[in-house]
Each structure stands twice: as C-alpha cells, then as structure tokens.
C-alpha cells in the first residue's frame, strides 16, 4: 500500500476553514442516514458523545465497551475542568487566544487548523453540556463559575467540583442511554475489541471477544470509529485506570493505520509518589492544587528533617525562583522536569526521597481552612486515605506520573486514519495537543471530536456509499480475522509458562520509564530498543495464564493487552530515538538550552512522525507530515 499523508486541511484564512469545510463536505440526506451502520468502539467522552450524536442524526450505531457499563470509561476520573474560550470573566480570552495558547503549549508540534477548530467548538461544548444538566460550578448570581488552570493567564476553565470528567461523562452517557432506549444505538458491553477488519483497503468492521463467554464475534459496518483512549499504561504505573490499553489503536496500526508521535507522553506533575513495589497504579492530585499550593524541597541535600522543622530560608521554592512570572503554574512538562531535577539532585522528600512538597500552609493562613476545604476538600480527603497523612497539617508529597498521551493514530482534518472508513477520536488520536497538552484540554478535545467534529465529517465518507450493503460477516476477511483472534487468545492458555502477566507488564514498564520517561537520551533509548524485544520474546514463551479461555478470565483479557504493549513500546522508543530534539513532554538530554530547558529543532523536526507497520520482524517506515505555522510564530517557550 502506498501511503500518502494528506491532512486535508481546508483552504482559506484559519478562522474560516472549519465553516468552509462544513459547507463543502458531502451530506447524507436525513432520510438516508438510517441506511448506514457505524461502529463506535469506546464509550468515554469521545466515544459516548460521538455515538449519541450520530444516533441523534439518524445513523444506526453499534457502541462497544469492555466495561460493564458505558459510564465506567476512564474519562470519569478527570478532575480539574474543561477549557472554553467563553471570555465570561472579561479577562481578554478569545478563540484566538485559546488557539494560540494550545499551539504554544504543545510546543509547536500540533496542526494549526485542528487546534483552531478545537478552540472554536469549545464554545458549543459548554452550551451543550449545560443544556444536558451537567452541574457546573455556579456563582451566586446563577451564572457559570470559572477558574484559571494549569498555567493559563485567563480564567477559562469550567468545572464541577473536583469531578468534572465524571459529570461530563455522565452527561454523554445519559445522552447515549436515551439513544439506546430509542433503539438507535445497540450497546455491546463487556466486549473487548481485538481486531479491525479491512477489505479492499477500507475498514469494514471489527472482531470482539465477549468477556463473559469467551466467544469471538464479527461486526460489520460502513464506518468504524475508535475512541479507545491513550497508551499511558505502557509504563505499567500511570494514573490511567487498570484496563486502559493500546490494543484497539495497535490492532488498527497493524492493519494499515499510521501511528503518529508515539513518543509524546505527558508526565503529570502532581501525583502521589510511589510508595512500594506492590503499587498497582498512581493517583493524580488535580493540578488545580497548584493554584494555591506552593511547591518546595529542602535546599540542603539529603535533609532528613520533617517539613515543619525546616525554616523558611532553607526551603527551595524552585518553580517560584526559576519562573517568577508563572511560578507554581508553569505548564505540566516544565513542572515535571523540574521535580525530577531536584529529586535526582538528592533533595527529594518522604520515606523514599522520591517526592516534592506541595504546601498549603500559606493558602490556609491567607484564606482560612474553610476556604481551602471548599476548594479542595475531596482531593485532600483522597490524599489522606491513600497516604495516611493529613494535608491540612502536613504538606502533600507529590511526584510526576504518566498521565496522558498526546501521540496516537494519525488522522486527517476529518479525523479519519490512513485506512479509509476508520476514524479515531479523543486521546486515541494525535491531532490537537502537539508535544504537550494543556490542563483542562483533554475533556475539551474528547467532546469536540465526538459532539461537533465527527458528526459533520463522517458524512463525507458515507455519502458516496448510499445503497452499498455492509460487507457480510460471512466474507472471508471476517472469517480469517475471527479465526486469528480466537487462535491468538486461546493460545495464551497453552503457553503454560512460569511468570504472571502482571510480572511482564511491570518489567516492561520499568524499561519504558527508565529510558523513555521524563528525560531521554540516545544511549538509554538504544538500550531499550534491545531490551524490549528480548523481554517480549521471553514473555511469549514463558507467560502463565491459568483458567479457561471460555468464560470470564481477567488474565486472558490482560495478556492480549500486554502483548500489544510489548510491540507498541518498541515503536514508542524508536520514535523517541529518531526525534533528537526536545519538545514539550519529549525531553532529549542532548538537546537543551543553557538553562536546561527543552530546546526544539524547528528546522529539522517541525513535522508529525507517522509510522507505518511493516510486519512483526521488519522496522516500521517513517512518514512525515510537515507542520506549517501560518498564524502563530514559533518561539522558544519561556515562562520566566
């Protein structure tokens, strides 16, 4: 297959591209929409909003989730908020400013046209969610409240206490439930998507495994939409939910969808530090805490005193000192990297010396305990439950953890992958955040893609297919894919090795975190490129999966996912190795400014790296989509 990366960015001034495009895409007549079947995999913000919106338009939607209910998707755990350029605070916000901030925050590695559209539809998202009854925070006058978030110089973040993701997801889930009730969406819960089916170069369906019976099923449709989240669990420890995985995207990649920028990962600065080897996941503390918390470490190396015993003059407020203008509110990548620097330098705090303090004493003095409790009460409670320490009395201990992945399947302006008929939304695609995502922008992008972009753009693919039947599931392409998935899944119980799936996932995570985490260099990445295939080979020969392949088997569900992570990790490291510049969350030690900040190489790397699968034992091929910046001038980011 000859791959041509055509982003299909509409012509015209940036502010008019989306409107022009909406007018030029082909439409499907309302009475004809019912003649099209669309598969949506994943029911998080992007998937649920897409499935509901497509069904409202009249399409027949089949929605798939591996959870027991669509409401469990990991979007539910997002705490802080959702951005929108409403300018309700009269503080100078605008669509252009949100666009500008997002392109800059992404360290100039995102596509201008997509980002501008995202900023435009951010306005509609808030209106849509408010109409659905999402209980956003309100001022006493009844109007919507806002806060500044994650380094933004304007207050554009809407929120529902510390549970914004939950409330937005429940809004989308409820819209989906209404369509299920109306018969326009068929929901397949506890269904694990294990392959994409492609015929004559076009996506025509998927293969799923029923997680209760173990049976594999084929599903056919005119288009397939993947909204299956990010790949953060390649690190084993992350803030992702336990079941988050790369399988859907990876299987699509193996069927011809290019994978873009897999090295871009956001390491979130405010998580609870690792406490022991048995730890299964890391917990995020919303970065809204940085609005009032002051980050510091002892100036003295290996200082064993408790926080209270360290006098003010001996505390190193490293962000406030280094970045007087942004202080504790520098973007996530900058905050994370600085935490790593001080901890690596021997100034870490806590029993394992692997954290930094996030101190609320000043805020409590200034505003009172009650005001702080009102703002962050649920987060403080969560912190205490996990650590056994009271953050009203002791400073919190935090450390960065893998949180979000900016890379993903390459998509064009229509959100279509390089496989015609296969779309990708939300965190699973690569499109809007460049090399670093701003706080409160993930919820915005998921809902933008699902509510307001795909419902327009999918018509362009479907309209010419009017009258075409879907490929029958009796077709050889489905039969082959079914047999392959069944064989692969059942095969794991025959390996009869000696180590658990968990063991191999943990080992993989250690390699990826060590060599492809917050800071990367050629030597380490090269080492990882030899260690990962060796581990993968051992895993495939020696993994132990007990129980039957028929029926509920959580080990079997996981082993497929870890197997895909084992292949994906290699691509991720390869991408990190080839990108010898630093940008956003990708910090190459060889490429830094004299002050130790990320140093971009715009001349050689202002492109999207999109990788093409060539088979299991062949190196992937790199394709480049050059990024043109016509509206934003590239600058070295500075938050001083």
């Amino acid at each position: 297959m000859m791959v041509v990366l055509d982003a299909k960015i509409p012509d015209g001034p940036i502010a008019e591209k989306w409107d022009n495009h909406k007018f030029s895409v082909k439409l499907v007549n309302p009475a004809n929409k019912r003649k099209f079947d669309i598969i949506v995999v994943g029911t998080g913000l992007a998937g649920a909003s897409a499935a509901a919106s497509l069904a409202e338009l009249g399409y027949n939607v089949k929605a798939f989730t591996f959870h027991d209910s669509p409401r469990r998707a990991h979007s539910i755990a997002a705490q802080g908020g959702i951005n929108a350029a409403k300018n309700y605070r009269n503080d100078g916000d605008s669509v252009y400013r949100l666009f500008y901030d997002t392109v800059k925050g992404g360290d100039y590695r995102s596509r201008e046209a997509n980002v501008y559209r995202l900023a435009q539809v951010s306005l509609n998202i808030i209106d849509q969610c408010a109409a659905q009854g999402v209980p956003f925070a309100r001022e006493y006058g009844g109007l919507l409240a806002n806060r500044s978030f994650g380094g933004a110089q304007v207050s554009r973040t809407f929120y529902a206490r510390g549970q914004t993701g939950q409330q937005l997801l429940l809004g989308a889930y409820q819209a989906l439930a209404a369509q299920i009730k109306a018969g326009k969406v068929t929901l397949y819960n506890r269904s694990d998507m294990l392959d994409v089916v492609v015929k004559d170069g076009e996506a025509c369906g998927i293969i799923t495994r029923d997680m209760l019976t173990g049976e594999v099923h084929a599903h056919s449709a005119h288009a397939v939409v993947l909204a299956t989240g990010g790949y953060g669990n390649v690190y084993y420890l992350s803030t992702n939910a336990m079941a988050c995985n790369v399988t859907a995207a990876w299987r699509a990649h193996r069927k011809g969808a290019l994978f873009a920028n897999p090295c871009y990962t956001q390491i979130h600065p405010t998580c609870i530090p690792v406490s022991d080897e048995f730890q299964s996941k890391l917990t995020l503390m919303s970065e809204s805490l940085r609005n009032d918390g002051r980050i510091w470490v002892p100036r003295q190396i290996d200082d064993a005193r408790s926080a209270a015993d360290i006098p003010e003059a001996e505390r190193y407020y490293y962000l406030e000192e280094k970045y007087p203008s942004f202080g504790n509110l520098v973007p996530r990548d900058v905050a994370s990297r600085n935490a790593k620097t001080v901890v690596d330098g021997g100034r870490g705090v806590g029993p394992l010396k692997n954290g930094v303090y996030l101190d609320f004493a000043a805020a409590i003095d200034r505003d009172g305990v009650e005001a702080v409790r009102e703002r962050y009460g649920n987060l403080f409670d969560m912190y205490e439950r996990i650590t056994g320490e009271d953050p009203y009395k002791l400073p919190m201990r935090i450390y960065p953890a893998t949180h979000y992945t900016m890379g993903g399947l390459w998509v064009d302006y229509n959100l279509m992958t390089t496989v015609p008929g296969l779309y990708c939304l939300g965190e699973a695609n690569f499109s809007d955040h460049g090399a670093n995502r701003l706080g409160a922008s993930a919820l915005m992008q998921g809902l933008a893609d699902g509510y307001f972009v795909l419902p327009y753009t999918i018509g362009d693919h479907l309209a010419p297919k009017l009258g075409d039947a879907t490929v029958p599931t009796t077709d050889p392409v489905f039969k082959e894919a079914l047999a392959e998935v069944d064989q692969r899944t059942r095969g794991w119980t025959q390996v009869k090795g000696t180590r658990s799936v968990e063991h191999y996932h943990r080992e993989l995570g250690k390699i990826v975190w060590e060599y492809c985490g917050m800071a990367r260099n050629r030597t380490g990445l090269t080492k990882a490129l030899s260690e990962i295939p060796a581990l993968r080979e051992e895993f495939r020969k020696n993994v132990k999966v007990l129980g039957r392949p028929d029926g509920v088997n959580q080990q079997l569900e996981k082993v497929n996912r870890v197997d895909d992570f084992m292949e994906f990790a290699e691509l991720k490291v390869r991408d990190a190795l080839h990108r010898s510049e630093s940008c956003g969350g990708h910090f190459r030690e060889e490429s830094q400014t004299p002050e130790g900040e990320a140093l971009r190489d715009d001349e050689n790397f202002a492109y999207v790296a999109a990788w093409e699968w060539q088979g299991p034992d062949t190196d992937p091929v790199l394709h480049k989509e050059d990024l043109a910046f016509e509206n934003v001038q590239l600058t070295q980011r500075s938050y001083k």
Partner: protein
C-alpha cells in the same frame, strides 16, 4: 525501591467467595494472607493474593476494579458484611490495609442482590442500573447549538444540590447494603440531580414515573433502613429518596393531566 525500610505488614485470615459462573454453586476459599503491607490498598492486597495463587497454579480470584481512585464505580465487595468495608465514605479501592489489624479475619463476598447476579467470584452483573437510566435518566438536549450556557442561570444552591446528587458513582453498594436490595438511593440521586435543575423541568414528571417504575421491575422496596446511605462511598443523602417519593406521587397526577391536554 530498595532504599526503603520494610513497611509494616499484617497477617490476615481471608475467606473469599469463589463461584465459577452465574449458575455454578459457590463456596468460600480460606487463605492465610501473610505479610500484607499496611500501605497496600484493599485491591492491591487482592492483587498480591492473586500473584501468590498464580504461583501455586490456582486460578486467580476474579474481582471487578478499574480506576482505583474511587470514581469509576467498577469495584465493590462485601467486607465482613459491609459494602465497601469498614471505612465510611470510601470505595473498596480507596480502603487501605492500615484500617485492619494483625490477625483479623476478613470475609470477602460479592454484592448480594437478586438484581445483581454473580458472574464469577466477586463480580456481579449491574446492568439493571443502566436500564433505570435509559428509562429517563437524562435531559433530552440533542447535540446542536443550544442557547448560550449563561442564558440558563442556576442558583448556586440548586447547582450544589444537583452536584451532591450527581456525585453517585453507580457502584451498587446501596443495593448490596439494603436488607430489601432496594435501589432507591441510586435512582433518587439521578432523579434529584435532573429534577432540581431548570433544564430538567420539561421532562420531570415523565422521567420520574418511568425511572421509579423501571426500578421496581428489578429491585426490592425501600423500608427506610438507611443502610444505603451508610454504605455509600459518596455519602448520597437520604433526603433525595424523600424528594423522589414526593415527585413520584406528584408525577401520577401531573402526567395524567399532561396527557389529557
């Protein structure tokens, strides 16, 4: 993490429910769980037990879990007869072993309710909750361009009440804790969230009748024990049940008069 001093550990006696499938007969498995770190979460304790079972070639215990942050609502087991265990306002995944003492016996069972059949071991089927939401737990606002969000002012007190109710995570602890396996707390939380808001008024009475009657198709009746609230990891208030009862009675006459218009 070799630089750490060994953390404190507990030796526990676990009785864990094992059941191969919905129609299989179940029984308790007794396990001596030694050297459980106090800093582990309850689910990390189960992870450890599973690792040990795998080592001994015993099929690991199936238990529902996902976010491990107390928000997705996937997890939940009966711990010594209490839904989500002894700590108030805490989902199973947020419960930590430091809440137990050395030598404790811990009985771990799935949610017990006719509407939540056991699928395997500690995992149950909670789809009946989705049926209640589908019956009317939404505001019909098709995707499009509704009016500007600030054109629907919502008094702060009302928004706060809606949020208090909307905090429900749908875990099912309320049903599991109820002697009647009633789902009043779950249903009323969603009803109150939508019914107090101005956006929720047009469908208020239809929603109320449909959701309550769907609930009754699956679940038992409420007899005001209040166990649901005690077990709820989000401390959803019993007041919402009173609110729902009032709205349900009203809905009968309102819907009749709406139908006759």
């Amino acid at each position: 993490m070799s630089s750490t001093a060994p953390s404190k550990t507990l030796n526990l006696k676990l009785r864990i429910w094992r059941q191969d499938g919905p129609h299989a007969e179940g029984s308790f498995l007794d396990i001596d769980a030694d050297q459980i770190p106090v800093d582990a979460s309850f689910l990390e304790m189960l992870d450890l037990i599973n690792e040990r079972l795998i080592e001994d070639d015993v099929e690991p215990i199936t238990f529902p879990h996902d976010c491990r942050e107390g928000i997705c609502g996937t997890c939940g087991v009966m711990i010594n007869g209490q839904a989500h265990g002894p700590e108030k306002a805490t989902a199973t995944c947020q419960l930590h072993m430091r809440k137990f003492r050395d030598g404790d016996q811990i009985v771990i069972e799935p949610w017990r309710a006719a509407a939540f059949p056991v699928l395997k071991d500690l995992m149950v089927d909670r789809r009946a909750f989705d049926r209640i939401i589908e019956a009317g737990g939404y505001i019909s606002a098709p995707t499009g361009t509704p009016q500007d969000a600030n054109e629907i002012p919502v008094p702060k007190e009302v928004a706060d009440t809606a949020m208090d109710a909307a905090a429900c995570i749908g875990c099912g602890a309320c049903v599991a804790a109820c002697p009647n396996s009633a789902a009043q707390l779950f249903t009323s939380a969603k009803l109150a969230h939508l019914n107090v808001l101005p956006q929720g008024q047009p469908e208020r009475w239809k929603r109320t009748e449909a959701m309550v009657e769907t609930m009754e198709d699956f679940f038992g009746s409420c007899t005001n024990h209040g166990e649901c609230h005690e077990a709820c990891p989000k401390e959803i208030s019993l007041d919402f049940i009173a609110f729902m009862n009032r709205d349900y009675i009203k809905s009968k006459s309102k819907n009749r008069s709406l139908a006759s218009q």
